[in-house]
């Protein structure tokens, strides 16, 4: 009691108490869900009380590695997840290139206008991206098909959206379209931090633009690039589900279903809560391990942690 009273007299503790309702909110919405992991150890049936269902131990986890049907699906889903994440990582140089190209534009007003306009797609939802994709590419109303038909290039529209081919690439395309301008902002910020004297010195030494970009600009941006790259390792399995959810249809379902969407489809659509929880749980654990790995990589390569 005496110890507590002394604590109460400390300013820092009072500040903690004032903040505690907010910390409780964090606990309630981010830590309490962990309790739900218990579902993965039961054979839960929707609508029943959890504890009236059978405790099955690790059955749901074993299923992921032994049940033929589950294994096939998980392999397929992992292939999609890693495939699309990998394409995302490969193309993560695009925002940097874009920022460099933008910085080469001398006309300030033109540069600002472009920067503003290409950032807009970042601020719209995936549902709206889907709607726009529909307006651009659908068979009947799509702008592209209208142009093709009105100019007599084709008699009938092509149904770009229902195609099961190249789903990974089209998803990547939408992702780039949406994220490029926003992704470039951090590099644009980093560009302003590069010392102008370096360029001046290089000029005096007779370096051209290409040489300056290669020897000054790119090295100046690489630290930022590596931090983002390392963070993307931690997010390898987290490509979210919204984008793939809105774009999924009967034709592309096999190659668009990523891990998060699979968990949703199994759990929320198929009501197989227990199995879906088990898959999601394993995903969370692997993600944290990847994050620690990325942090470790960052420590040995840069001497700084990313977290």
């Amino acid at each position: 009691m005496v110890g507590f009273k002394r604590l109460l007299n400390q300013q820092g503790f009072r500040l903690f108490l004032m903040s505690s309702p907010l910390l409780i909110l964090v606990f309630v919405f981010s830590y309490m869900p962990l309790y739900g992991w218990i579902y993965s150890f039961y054979d839960y049936k929707a609508g029943r009380d959890l504890f009236s269902t059978d405790f099955v131990g690790l059955k749901n986890f074993k299923m992921m590695f032994t049940d033929h049907y589950a294994v096939t699906n998980i392999l397929r889903v992992m292939k999609n997840t890693l495939g699309m994440s990998f394409l995302g990582i490969v193309t993560s140089v695009f925002p940097m290139i874009f920022a460099i190209l933008l910085s080469e534009i001398r006309n300030l007003r033109f540069r600002k206008t472009i920067q503003t306009l290409v950032t807009i797609p970042n601020f719209i939802s995936w549902v709206l991206v889907y709607s726009i994709a529909y307006a651009m590419f659908s068979t009947n109303d799509g702008l592209l098909n209208r142009i093709l038909i009105n100019n007599g290039i084709r008699d009938e529209g092509i149904n770009f959206l229902a195609s099961g081919n190249h789903v990974w690439l089209t998803m990547l395309g939408y992702g780039i379209w949406k994220g490029l301008g926003w992704g470039a902002i951090i590099y644009i910020a980093a560009l302003t931090n590069i010392d102008a004297e370096q360029y001046e010195a290089a000029r005096i030494d007779g370096a051209g633009r290409l040489k300056m970009t290669w020897h000054i600009t790119i090295p100046g941006l690489l630290p930022t690039f590596f931090v983002l790259l390392l963070l993307s390792i931690g997010n390898l399995l987290n490509n979210g589900m919204e984008q793939y959810f809105v774009f999924q249809n009967a034709m592309n379902k096999d190659s668009i279903e990523v891990l998060d969407l699979y968990v949703y489809n199994q759990g929320m659509v198929g009501y197989d809560y227990s199995f879906a929880t088990a898959v999601g749980m394993l995903k969370s654990v692997v993600s944290v391990m990847l994050l620690f790995f990325a942090n470790f990589l960052s420590k040995i390569t840069r001497g700084e942690s990313v977290m």
């Binding site: 004032m18 503003t116 549902v127 560009l191 977290m307």
Partner: protein, 302 residues
């Protein structure tokens, strides 16, 4: 930035031209879809159906926008979206900035532990099914509060705000201390007024996030009363034909209608899309300049 004057070589001219063309083309792909949607929503609907509206609007009218709000539940979903955006943004700002300020004070009890306690939630979550079960247990299914309460503490915004507050000279706070100001007074009277640029940035992040949020409606809401605009849009994208048919019949029954202004399935989709996107297009360009600064201040280092 390099802004040195020197003579341009032929190579520079070639590079510049290609650069301008590439950037312009990409910019056009970002702009044309919005323009295309817009001209279709304000054009004669019979021409739109025939596929004749490609570059310029024809037979301009705004009836689509009026009719769309008369669709069952659509006006309600506008209210839901506006409500969650306004309330959610205000609550997030108050909660996140206060906690961010508290974490900027070195005397905060066990500061490191609690700061990590909050930050970890950015990288780690239990998964969607446990999250759903938790929300269900809290009674937040079909409950408007589900849109605004969970977002009160936003870790990423918290980092940005904390970093910003730490850049404010501590002498200012010390002088407030001398005047006997408590934490609440300092937060409300000193820190918040000094942090307007970053607060504006966070407000936009939060407002855009709330306005665009779709999956929470998908998971948590089965009662159409709580459907957000995004969710309605999604539904209409998938099943708008039936809906527009009923609209057409209703309109035809009223006779003497001008078919050019009667909503069509395409019109429904495009007009809702515009209703969803117009607020963003209106607000965003004015606040854009804050982002670069906001991001620079603390995005990379947590």
């Amino acid at each position: 930035m390099k802004d040195l004057k020197y003579k341009l070589t032929t190579g520079d001219y070639v590079f510049n031209s290609i650069n301008y063309v590439v950037l312009t083309l990409f910019t056009l792909t970002c702009v044309i879809p919005f323009y295309y949607l817009f001209i279709n929503t304000i054009s004669d609907n019979t021409l739109v159906t025939k596929g004749l509206i490609v570059w310029l609007p024809q037979g301009i009218h705004f009836a689509n926008y009026i009719q769309i709000l008369k669709i069952d539940g659509l006006f309600n979903s506008v209210l839901v979206s506006v409500g969650r955006t306004v309330l959610g943004t205000v609550l997030t700002l108050v909660g996140t900035t206060f906690l961010g300020y508290a974490f900027s004070r070195p005397e905060f009890w066990k500061r490191k532990i609690w700061y990590r306690f909050v930050l970890i939630t950015m990288y780690f979550n239990a998964g969607i099914i446990p999250w759903y079960i938790n929300m269900k247990n809290l009674g937040l299914l079909n409950n408007f509060l589900a849109y605004i309460i969970p977002s009160i503490v936003a870790p990423f915004s918290l980092i940005l705000f904390k970093t910003y507050v730490e850049s404010i000279p501590s002498s200012l706070e010390e002088s407030a201390d001398m005047d006997g100001a408590g934490y609440m007074t300092k937060y409300a009277r000193l820190i918040m007024p000094l942090s307007k640029p970053i607060v504006a940035t966070l407000a936009v992040f939060s407002a855009v996030g709330q306005w665009n949020s779709f999956t929470d409606t998908l998971f948590l809401m089965t009662d159409p009363k709580y459907y957000s605009l995004q969710y309605m849009l999604y539904q209409y994208l998938n099943e708008s034909n039936a809906l527009a048919d009923s609209l057409r019949q209703a309109a035809a029954a009223g006779s003497q209608v001008n078919l050019a202004t009667v909503l069509t399935p395409t019109g429904v989709k495009m007009t809702i899309s515009m209703v969803v996107v117009i607020p963003i297009l209106c607000v965003y360009p004015f606040l854009q300049r804050y982002f670069v600064n906001g991001i620079m201040l603390g995005a990379v280092k947590g």
